[in-house]
């Protein structure tokens, strides 16, 4: 950290030196230029002693400011920061109004901890230039940089007393207030800074990031209103991301009028949101960018992000948008795999095949072959085992591939399916549900399980329910889950009486099984829908009291709240 700080400091001095070459003092005899170049070379190569001698010579030849700044850097390389002070004493006496020299003197004195002398130097500068804000601002800045918040506060207070305001030191005031933990005041000060200098939004963001939870609202009311400068709104949106509420940040930016600046802000915000992997919010941001400034590249990017957010239908629309205008073959080659993946997830296998056939010329034989696995997966989702097998013949599959796992599952080879599905691909909700069942039994074959999931894929709910019932009979260790799966199917197709019968069975016979919590919740919801509030209340309460660690408890509490509201109507 210290090394990093000293690097930053060196960089600042170097830039300062370069800029000051253009100042009246620096624009002096040319002969110094060659010496300065020699000094900088030595400094860059780490030959500090040689650099020190050369910088001294440059000062003597008239290159006062760059010489002093170089000297300061060179001495800091050898950890002798105070050695620059004698030279500065002489030069300050010669050029008492030169801010760069005064600044260097204050920096050196504060850095080596000679506080009294630093105060004296500050007083001397003020005495020379009593109406100027520079001494106050620069000294406060040096103190802030060195973490001397209280001293900086005193200096700024003195500025107000002597000059009447701190208008020219808004930045320092904002930094100081944040440094002192006066967050509400800091938020106000930063807002004024950003009103004057919009590009300070990143500095404001870093400065205000540690705001305690209890005081964040005071930042929000100052930066998040329409009258706040745009930079403040942008900084607040980024703060919301850092504070774990990216949606709140997006809500702030989404309402900005669409123009180039806004789109640039959205882009920057998208990067922040991507860093925290908030895919749902990110999808909204990139879609907004696409709507504001449509392009095939942006549409494709939005489609990729939407797939990560699980927004398949949206992703499909976007990926097709990416191919709408005349686009390059390369763009098509990028878009088609995404389109196929989304279609496969949606179980639209025939459509996926058509898309692949249409794009096969662009993709080439190898590219087309690589997509065969996706086509196979699409047929698996559609429950067409034969076509899935035909598609998979051409596909390059790994040993533990999800395609093999699903096919094994449909064949009833649940041992093979368990291994393949556990190891392959990122998990999707259906695969997790299947694995939850398979990992609760050690059986290696079960035609009933295969039949149940195949029927589900084909949309044959009656057969699926029957098969799950058979699973419950054949494999008692997964009975509660199999019955619950049957109930889920029945509930989804509107057979609430059948579902209720199974929920009741689970609650009665498998009261301590994890499925009992879901059964109680759904059973209670059914009672609430049919107006039996007492039964609903009893079931929600039973869930909370008998399964207090269940992830469904918050939902049960929410249902109870809903019941209470209904009762007051």
């Amino acid at each position: 950290m210290i090394a990093q700080r000293s690097q930053v400091r060196r960089l600042v001095y170097a830039i300062g030196g370069a800029l000051l070459l253009a100042s009246p003092l620096a624009a002096q005899p040319d002969p110094a230029a060659a010496v300065l170049t020699r000094a900088m070379d030595a400094e860059n190569q780490g030959r500090a002693r040689e650099a020190i001698a050369a910088y001294r010579e440059a000062i003597a030849r008239g290159a006062v400011i760059p010489g002093v700044l170089g000297l300061e850097r060179a001495f800091s390389l050898v950890a002798q920061e105070d050695s620059v002070l004698p030279a500065l004493d002489t030069l300050v006496a010669r050029f008492p109004r030169e801010a760069a020299l005064r600044n260097a003197q204050l920096r050196a004195l504060v850095a080596v901890g000679r506080a009294t002398e630093a105060n004296r130097a500050f007083d001397a500068w003020r005495a020379v230039d009593p109406e100027s804000i520079d001494p106050y601002r620069d000294y406060a800045r040096v103190l802030l940089f060195n973490g001397r918040m209280a001293s900086a506060d005193t200096v700024l207070g003195e500025a107000v007393r002597r000059l009447g305001s701190t208008r020219g030191m808004l930045l320092e005031v904002a930094q100081l207030r944040a440094g002192l933990g006066r967050w509400t005041e800091a938020a106000s000060a930063w807002r004024e800074v950003m009103r004057a200098e919009p590009y300070y939004e990143m500095a404001a963001f870093f400065s205000m990031q540690p705001t305690p939870v209890a005081l964040r609202d005071s930042v929000r009311v100052r930066w998040g209103v329409a009258t706040a400068p745009l930079g403040a709104q942008q900084a607040l949106a980024q703060l919301e991301v850092a504070w774990g509420a990216p949606r709140r940040g997006w809500e702030l930016l989404a309402s900005l009028p669409v123009r180039d600046t806004t789109v640039a802000i959205w882009e920057q915000f998208a990067q922040e949101v991507e860093r925290v992997e908030a895919w749902g919010v990110l999808t909204e941001v990139v879609v907004a960018i696409q709507r504001a400034r449509p392009s095939s590249a942006q549409a494709l990017r939005a489609a990729r992000i939407a797939t990560r957010a699980g927004a398949d239908t949206l992703a499909l629309g976007l990926v097709r948008e990416a191919q709408q205008d005349p686009v390059s073959e390369r763009r098509v080659a990028e878009a088609v795999p995404i389109e196929l993946e989304v279609l496969a997830r949606l179980g639209r296998a025939a459509e996926a095949e058509r898309v692949l056939a249409a794009a096969s010329k662009t993709l080439g034989p190898e590219g087309t072959r690589r997509q065969a696995r996706t086509i196979a997966m699409a047929w698996i989702r559609a429950g067409d085992v034969d076509r899935a097998r035909r598609a998979v013949r051409a596909a390059p599959l790994e040993d533990a591939d999800a395609v093999s796992g699903w096919l094994a599952l449909y064949d009833g080879e649940i041992g093979t399916a368990r291994t393949a599905l556990r190891q392959a691909d990122p998990p999707d909700p259906l695969r997790i549900e299947v694995l939850a069942l398979l990992t609760r039994t050690t059986a290696t074959r079960s035609q009933a399980i295969g039949a149940a999931y195949l029927a589900l894929a084909r949309g044959d709910s009656t057969r699926a329910v029957r098969a799950f019932e058979q699973v419950a009979t054949e494999l008692p260790e997964v009975a509660s889950l199999a019955i619950l799966s049957a109930a889920r199917v029945q509930s989804a197709r509107g057979d609430t009486a059948g579902a209720a019968e199974r929920w009741a069975l689970i609650v009665e016979r498998y009261a301590s099984a994890p499925e009992a919590a879901e059964a109680l919740l759904e059973w209670g919801r059914l009672a609430r829908r049919t107006g039996d509030r007492a039964a609903a209340r009893a079931r929600f309460e039973q869930l909370i009291l008998t399964h207090p660690t269940s992830a469904l408890v918050p939902q049960a509490r929410r249902e109870l709240d809903g019941l209470a509201m209904e009762a007051r109507r």
Binding site: A214, S218, V221, I544, V553, M565, R568, R569
Partner: protein, 432 residues
């Protein structure tokens, strides 16, 4: 290290262990203890329902304690199965404490600006609200329903006809006691809800022999002031605060515009107001223009007057001495000290319109208005909180209801619930 300090450290350790065990699973320890502590600091999972659990203890006749300034205003209840069950159902964080831990807690409280206030009986609560109003129309009914605190809904006929002394606590929300329906006629004259409410109020006025709605509402205001004067506790929010005061002070003056009673406001009304009848304010100037959507200069924000509307800021709760000023302390117990402001028909109270002796509980620093005030009137007391809904800063007519399940730790709603429990502690002899 002194012996006393050592004991304190041991006890704190015991407390910490018991707390961490108890907080497991989000709620209560399976171990039986002698007391249950409901912490009200950042640890609490559901601050609002903690009030409901405490209230349910009081309804059971169980004596509880409110630990002012201790962990955000925690509650200490006896460890009873019914209360554990209530806490678990509500998702309220509870820490089991044995006798030693409670002794240590009391020791710690004795050394600081803290005090334990006994809560002895569940206050009987009435909310003044129209018969057809849904619970989410009013922040208080919303908070009470969410916390599981029962209340009676009363309306003009009940106020005029029944013995209000059966209640300890009456709440008012956004009623306009000047009878002008917040001057919304100019915008909503033909809106079905507006027409319905005017017809309902007119029918009520006729039933009680009043010529118009302003006369009816003034009579209601008088009854409410009498309730306070006889020892009741009144909590009011939003527009009911300002208009109740105007109705009381303007009882014998025509302060309602043409749209309300068919005659213009008495041009000399300001000079005829009798502020000694009012509870909180004095010397306010009425807004006489019928087209200007404000009642007086009591409200600092004037949200519905475009050229006067003030932006929302934040307001800070004052800290009070728990031992010497327990009433004010109870009303400001919170886990936050700075709260985001929110609009209402009356959002805030102009500082220079407050009567001397009114206690300011919360203010916006540097602003000419305050947010939350309290005072005595006769043998009773009142509290006014500006704004409509603490979690809906811009609340507009027709806005969707606030879902408190999304705000279980709302510091603004806590202020409302502090007022609900305050009457439960009323019987303790106060030190000031």
């Amino acid at each position: 290290m002194t012996g006393r300090r050592l004991v304190m450290q041991v006890v704190r350790f015991v407390l910490a262990v018991s707390s961490s065990v108890a907080a497991l699973g989000g709620v209560v320890s399976p171990l039986a203890a002698q007391h249950l502590l409901l912490p009200m600091d950042a640890v609490q999972a559901n601050h609002l329902k903690a009030y409901g659990v405490t209230f349910s203890a009081l309804r059971e006749g169980v004596r509880s304690e409110w630990l002012l300034n201790y962990r955000g205003g925690a509650f200490l209840l006896p460890d009873l199965p019914s209360l554990r069950r209530a806490a678990l159902l509500a998702g309220v964080t509870v820490e089991a404490m044995d006798a030693a831990a409670v002794r240590a807690l009391r020791g710690e409280m004795a050394e600081g600006n803290m005090d334990a206030v006994p809560l002895e009986k569940a206050p009987r609560i009435a909310v003044y609200t129209p018969p057809d109003a849904p619970p989410w129309d009013d922040a208080v009914t919303l908070a009470l329903t969410y916390a599981g605190i029962p209340y009676d809904a009363i309306w003009d006929d009940a106020v005029l006809d029944t013995d209000l002394s059966t209640y300890d606590w009456i709440h008012l929300h956004h009623e306009d006691f000047t009878g002008q329906q917040h001057k919304l006629a100019s915008v909503y004259r033909d809106a079905p809800w507006f027409v319905r409410s005017r017809e309902r109020d007119l029918a009520m006025a006729r039933r009680f022999g009043h010529a118009d709605i302003p006369a009816l509402k003034k009579a209601v205001a008088d009854r409410l002031a009498a309730f306070v004067s006889r020892g009741g506790f009144l909590f009011a929010m939003c527009g009911s605060t300002e208009t109740l005061e105007l109705a009381l002070a303007g009882r014998d003056v025509d302060i309602a515009g043409v749209a309300a009673d068919g005659s213009p406001v008495d041009p000399g009304a300001d000079g005829k107001m009798e502020w000694t009848r009012a509870m909180a304010f004095a010397g306010a100037t009425l807004e006489m223009a019928p087209g200007v959507n404000a009642m007086s200069d009591i409200d600092g924000h004037q949200v519905n007057v475009p050229l006067r509307r003030q932006p929302l800021g934040t307001f800070a709760l004052f800290g009070f001495s728990a031992k010497f000023d327990p009433v004010a302390s109870m009303l400001v117990q919170n886990h936050r000290t700075v709260l985001r402001d929110y609009f209402g028909v009356t959002t805030s109270f102009t500082r220079n319109r407050l009567k001397p002796g009114v206690t300011i509980l919360a203010e916006e620093a540097g602003a000419p208005w305050v947010k939350y005030v309290h005072g005595s009137f006769g043998r009773g007391s009142w509290t006014y909180l500006g704004g409509h809904d603490p979690e809906d800063p811009q609340h507009a007519v027709g806005a969707p209801p606030t879902d408190l399940a999304l705000h279980p730790n709302s510091p603004g709603y806590r202020l409302i619930l502090n007022n609900v429990l305050f009457p439960a502690a009323k019987q303790k002899p106060l030190k000031t």
